[in-house]
Symmetry: C2
Subunit: 200 residues, 2 copies
């Protein structure tokens, strides 16, 4: 796959190479790191920030690319880069979707055929909210209520969050304005999926 | 002073330059960071590790110099550099002493004439322990007992710790062997002073 993309170098270290003597040091991004997925998965973004800091030091990149599907992760890493003065440019990469609209994720392989069908409601919900916003609805409360209705109409769906937040701070906003993030996380069976879009 | 030392460049940023928008990110060195001065001053080494990480990113030094008087700080920073793969060499600088033996410290200016006199017991204690070790005494318990006796004989002295530890992990050792750290911290009046030596 990488050869087809004409990739020259792949750096994919084993855990033993990155942690030869274990590690007791962590990079903690508080506040933004404790919101959205950080609220659902305590400590998760500390692990992410720490390994990304290590990789930045080992590789010394001018630019680093992260998917916008993990919008909270991108916000946390932007905060880390700003706060710790890393000399690296973070580039967000647009969400890539399957033909049916499901955002690509390594986790999609855990979905049964039925769950896969159910999972489509994430994108469907976001499309509906995007349309409501395009038609002039800006109230976060109204949008969230409609979104939850759409999500909960699908059996086997357990919503973790549906949020309209500032894309940098991940703090909830009362109104969905340009540049803000509409993000959803839900369990389909035992698989946790996320998706989002930025308000145009 | 710096001109006399033929220093070409001084980077001494103001807080506003280092924290233009505040900061919510910290570098936490657990275990070693929670021992000795880290035990007495919770969170202290998190502040140290965070600002040093920032300075490393801003300056990009090949080598960075830290005084061995702050032995715990040096251990914490060595751990951070190893754990986060910083590409920088840490160089420890020998303790510099006044003519009377008191380790130089920006805090010495807070000492009254009497306190200054009392403070000399730190170095005197370390010299006595160094001599005992040279004469063959290796038992940490025996050494610590003798050291506490010497320190407590001086009025106005409040010992924070007297410890014989591994210089890397700062964990107590039962025996004072070559390369290990004998470290003391004590309040003279309201001024906290530290000093140490490495077992030869």
């Amino acid at each position: 796959m990488l050869e087809a993309e004409r990739v020259d170098v792949l750096f994919a270290p084993e855990a033993a190479e990155m942690y030869p003597n274990g590690s007791v040091t962590t990079v903690v991004v508080s506040e933004v790191g404790d919101r959205l997925d950080g609220a659902s998965r305590p400590g998760h973004f500390t692990g992410v920030a720490t390994i990304v800091a290590k990789l930045f030091h080992v590789v010394g990149p001018a630019r680093a690319y992260f998917g916008q599907k993990d919008a909270a992760q991108l916000a946390v890493l932007r905060q880390m880069v700003r706060d710790l003065n890393f000399d690296v440019e973070l580039v967000g990469c647009a969400i890539v979707r399957d033909k049916d609209g499901l955002a690509l994720s390594s986790r999609n392989k855990y979905l049964s055929a039925i769950e896969r069908e159910q999972a489509l409601v994430l994108h469907r919900t976001l499309l509906r909210l995007e349309q409501m916003i395009a038609e002039g609805e800006r109230q976060s409360l109204t949008l969230a209520r409609k979104g939850m209705e759409t999500l909960n109409a699908v059996a086997g769906m357990r919503v973790d969050y549906l949020a309209i937040v500032d894309a940098d701070t991940l703090l909830p906003t009362t109104s969905a304005e340009t540049g803000m993030l509409v993000a959803v996380a839900a369990y389909v069976g035992s698989t946790r999926l996320i998706d989002n879009f930025m308000v145009a």
